[in-house]
């Protein structure tokens, strides 16, 4: 057991040391020393989709479900489902969305959160559907940055081995 962990003047070197041994001392330009340790933290949540559950169960069956306001005078159609209408507050009912739509906007992510870094680059797209008043955010696959444009026709693909995540559906350029 050593009494003091190694000392570094560059914070980058401190971080590298933490990955190796779990502790380091950072000495700044004024000579102030700070003890820095590695402090792991992880947790698994018991995440209920609750009122959104039918959407995720639908993906597993190869269905894309939106929701529609039950109040006839409103009847707003949400492409990303909500169980109550954002416009008038009435309950909504589940509907099947078309499985094809158009790109409303897009980007290619060359970086991402730590959890998704290994998947970069990936495309995100907002998709608009005929008959729906709101949009849906999706992954757009089988296309590279230079293929993408606003208005591009796209269609849904479903994961035959569902993970019960929103990534069980993705879109590809329409054949």
């Amino acid at each position: 057991m050593r009494a003091r962990p190694p000392t570094y003047g560059k914070f980058r070197d401190v971080q590298a040391e933490l990955d190796k041994s779990g502790a380091a001392i950072f000495r700044d330009a004024d000579g102030v020393e700070s003890l820095v340790i590695r402090y792991p933290y992880s947790i698994s949540y018991i995440h209920s989709y609750a009122e959104d559950s039918p959407f995720f169960l639908g993906l597993a069956e190869g269905k894309l479900r939106g929701s529609k306001c039950r109040r006839p005078k409103c009847g707003f159609v949400f492409a990303t489902p909500r169980s109550h209408c954002m416009v008038c507050g009435a309950p909504t009912e589940w509907i099947d969305l078309p499985t094809s739509g158009r790109v409303h906007s897009w980007t290619t992510c060359h970086f991402g959160s730590e959890a998704f870094l290994k998947e970069t680059p990936y495309n995100l797209a907002m998709v608009e559907f005929d008959g729906a008043g709101s949009l849906m955010l999706v992954r757009l696959k089988d296309a590279v940055e230079s293929d993408l444009y606003v208005g591009m026709p796209v269609e849904a693909r479903f994961d035959p081995n569902p993970k019960y995540l929103v990534t069980d559906v993705w879109f590809v350029p329409k054949a």
């Binding site: 008038c88 995100l124 559907f129 729906a132 606003v150 929103v166």
Partner: protein, 478 residues
């Protein structure tokens, strides 16, 4: 194009009528006048390993109170303390530890959190504590220590401030969300504007994105260059448009130099009544307007309705514009309208001398020019090119013929100063306060960023994809 919901028309018309009838708030309400008398900021940095969040706030607090000999701890009635995420420091209820470290117990306090707008909300919470009569003197303090996790883990924490059922699992990345917004903004206003004559749709969109990217880069050059004169800034530097465009692509079309970074930092403000302000300083600054707005958490749910109009706009300006869609920040427009109404401002370009706004992305600075009515929706790119938001007397390396008309982010903004979330909106308050006091040279050790005779300025704080925005308006009170 998604259909406009029919049900929107009536409530909007009613709201519009109501806003016409509603007089300026100040004279008709019982709110007390609120003044800012001092503030302090730590230098924003990638990491402050030798200071935890308590010590950072203490340093900013000590700087603020040493400005006013009469402002001892016993004169402060209570505090409002802000930080964005418990994840970053792995310490819940950290605001209690700030209160504790400052020796403020048992005075009243509450923690403020509202995403990226956390600091702006804290400023307004301190305002409300004084305006309501609950406190005569309130300390607003905020911080963030984002260096305690790796950058891409930090991006993950920030992205957890998006819907974890529908948005986060797709890639959970805020730069990606803002890229989606600016691609549509460019489509609405450059593809359908300057490039409307080009028949090949894909070619037209490529050209429009290239043009939008070039103009966003002007904003990045401006903010980094302004910050050369701000010793508190994290990334002051002289860049060219080419440097910005060729920096690493993060999420197309946004490049690294068009995006703010993770930071450690703290900032504090002291707000008080008129009576106390007169006692503490001969250079107080009055808060004459506050406004907030909100929008849906998911971009996918943003409506396609009508634009709430600024005084100089007409409904006919926007006949063809589905609003806000994902191209504009409705919350920013709502916050601006409320704050302007309270302050009695009808023409912000001429009635404000500067704005410190939330440029987490160069794109969102341009989008915000439009939200705040500095120009009409669709004019943001031209407004940038003409130079209105640039400072006079600084050579940016390209023509800025109208520089000084309404300087935006004279401090360098988030892009160059950094963005320790819970401190950012308060930092804007401190920089605006020093501008209005005319003490920039004293605090920055450099007079270059002092706007001559600045009498009135606005600060603007913004949360994830525009889900919440605050605007506060400050005026010289001496």
């Amino acid at each position: 194009m998604p259909a406009r919901p029919k049900a929107r028309a009536k409530p909007r018309a009613a709201a519009k009528a109501a806003s016409k009838e509603r007089p300026a708030l100040t004279p008709t309400t019982k709110a007390r006048k609120v003044f800012m008398v001092t503030g302090g900021v730590t230098k924003f940095a990638k990491a402050h390993p030798a200071m935890d969040f308590r010590l950072m706030v203490k340093r900013a607090y000590d700087y603020a109170v040493k400005e006013i000999p009469g402002l001892t701890k016993d004169r402060i009635d209570g505090t409002r303390i802000s930080y964005f995420s418990d994840h970053f420091s792995r310490q819940l209820k950290a605001a209690s530890m700030v209160q504790d470290y400052l020796g403020m117990n048992p005075k009243g306090s509450v923690r403020i959190e509202w995403g990226g707008a956390t600091g702006g909300e804290c400023f307004q919470a301190a305002y409300e504590a004084v305006a309501s009569g609950r406190m005569d003197v309130c300390l607003g303090a905020g911080y963030e220590t984002m260096s305690r996790v790796a950058t891409w883990k930090g991006n993950e924490f920030i992205a957890l401030a998006s819907d974890t059922n529908f948005d986060f699992p797709l890639g959970g990345f805020y730069t990606g969300y803002y890229a989606l917004m600016v691609v549509r903004h460019i489509y609405e206003y450059l593809r359908k504007g300057k490039f409307a004559h080009i028949k090949d749709e894909r070619e037209a969109q490529r050209l429009a994105i290239a043009e939008g990217s070039r103009i966003m880069s002007l904003v990045s050059v401006k903010n980094h260059l302004n910050a050369l004169h701000n010793p508190y800034a994290q990334y002051p530097k002289r860049l060219t448009v080419d440097d910005v465009l060729k920096s690493e692509m993060i999420s197309y079309p946004l490049t690294r130099e068009q995006i703010c970074t993770m930071s450690d930092g703290a900032a504090v403000v002291v707000l008080c009544t008129e009576e106390r302000a007169k006692e503490f300083t001969d250079r107080p600054v009055r808060v004459i307007g506050v406004g907030t707005g909100t929008d849906t958490m998911r971009l996918a749910d943003r409506p396609f309705g009508k634009v709430p109009l600024m005084p100089k706009e007409r409904a006919s300006d926007y006949d063809e514009l589905p609003y806000p869609g994902i191209h504009s920040f409705r919350a920013g427009r709502a916050a601006g309208l409320e704050a302007y109404r309270m302050a009695g401002i009808r023409d912000p370009n001429h009635e404000l001398d500067f704005i410190e706004l939330h440029d987490a992305y160069a794109s969102s600075e341009i989008q915000t020019y439009e939200d705040l009515g500095l120009c009409k929706y669709g004019e943001g790119y031209g407004f940038t090119e003409k130079g209105d938001p640039f400072l006079k007397g600084i050579d940016y390396g390209f023509p800025t013929p109208r520089a000084g008309e309404i300087p935006v982010n004279p401090s360098g903004g988030l892009i160059a100063c950094g963005h320790p979330v819970g401190a950012t909106g308060l930092m804007q308050g401190v920089f605006a306060f020093w501008q209005l006091q005319g003490t920039i040279a004293k605090h920055f050790g450099d007079p270059a960023l002092q706007i001559k005779d600045a009498r009135r300025g606005a600060i603007h704080s913004h949360a994830g994809t525009g889900s919440a925005v605050t605007v506060s308006i400050l005026e010289r009170g001496f």
